[in-house]
Point group: C2
Chain length 182, copies 2
DNA sequence: ATTATATGATAACATACGATATGTATTATT
DNA sequence: AATAATACATATCGTATGTTATCATATAAT
């Protein structure tokens, strides 16, 4: 009875998501997404009630993107929080616009930094438990200090004020953990 | 011979600058500035060649605003960098949009974080010298570590992930300096 | 083959933006 | 008072945005 769908929700969402990588979250407009997807603006508003809905979908997809990014990069932890931190900083360097969207801008109704970090795998909890098992007296306070430091480095990569290699970053984080342990 | 000026550059700049406080840098548009200043858009483009010029003037004024803010809040340093850091974090909490403009967004052709911090008074250099005089072996590395930490706390106040009192912040910064000294 | 209907392209509407042309108001000089 | 020069308001242009109405079309069910 009905005409076959030729522009799917996946195509629209993927297109919008890709546009964020280079152009940032603000670069998503109905016309630009349509042009890049090779269609008119009509299918966008068929699938999504309005642009807010599409933006929210892109935000959610960015969350999964980060969690996948972390999963792929995660190695067995040597010093607690250093691996999570290294990945976080690398993500800020390599995926600036997604990092901004998730951890800097503070989207309306978005998830908190802790919720994002902990994810579905309980990453933060795991690291906190690791710290405890290694004799850290107050793993929660340790996480706070380490994360302030890690987030600072990540944000400074955005403005070009932090530019260390992964090896240097690892060394810096391990030394910091040691310092905060005293 | 000529008509008297009733809309001055100061009025326009002050209006635009005030608008940033609540609405952010992006809220500055020719029409909104004009409405708030009680004039048409014409005087804006008489004084400034285009909106880019006005934005740049607002950016410069924001720099002076930060430097004045720091000057007013600066106390004799106890532990190096803690006072500068406390003020920086307080500025992020109380003047979110100016903080974003100066230290997060990275304006085209804008000053680097270090340039802004050091300002006309050489604030950073003073703190580095203080650290050296107190026996710090590598004051430059100490500044880097301390500032990554301080910037992290400041950025986390923007998203509500850091919410300590000034007293707690001072204590945290002093302990961090001590930790990094080991 | 016909028909019903969702799909999507075209075009348009309403709004907001930077920027500018034009006419009017105002002021100092003559 | 007349004149010239500048400032300002009004109106407008061109563009970009979200959103929607119209309509041709493809396609599955009959």
């Amino acid at each position: 009875m009905a005409r076959k769908e030729s522009v799917t929700e996946q195509m629209i969402l993927d297109t919008a998501f890709e546009m964020v990588k280079e152009g940032g979250f603000e670069s998503i407009t109905a016309r630009k997404v349509a042009e890049r997807a090779g269609c008119s603006t009509q299918p966008i508003f068929r699938v999504y009630k309005n642009m807010d809905e599409l933006q929210h979908a892109v935000y959610e997809k960015s969350i999964h993107f980060f969690l996948d990014y972390y999963k792929a990069a995660s190695k067995p932890s040597s010093v607690p929080f250093t691996n999570l931190g290294l990945t976080y900083i690398a993500f800020a360097r390599e995926e600036k616009n997604y990092f901004k969207l998730l951890f800097v801008k503070g989207v309306k109704g978005g998830k908190s930094m802790y919720e994002l970090l902990n994810g579905t795998e309980g990453n933060v909890v795991k690291e906190i438990n690791l710290a405890r098992s290694r004799g850290c007296a107050d793993p929660g306070a340790m996480f706070m200090k380490m994360w302030i430091f890690i987030h600072g480095a990540a944000c400074m990569t955005l403005t070009g004020d932090y530019d260390l290699t992964d090896e240097e970053t690892i060394s810096l984080l391990e030394k910091s953990y040691e310092s905060f342990s005293q």
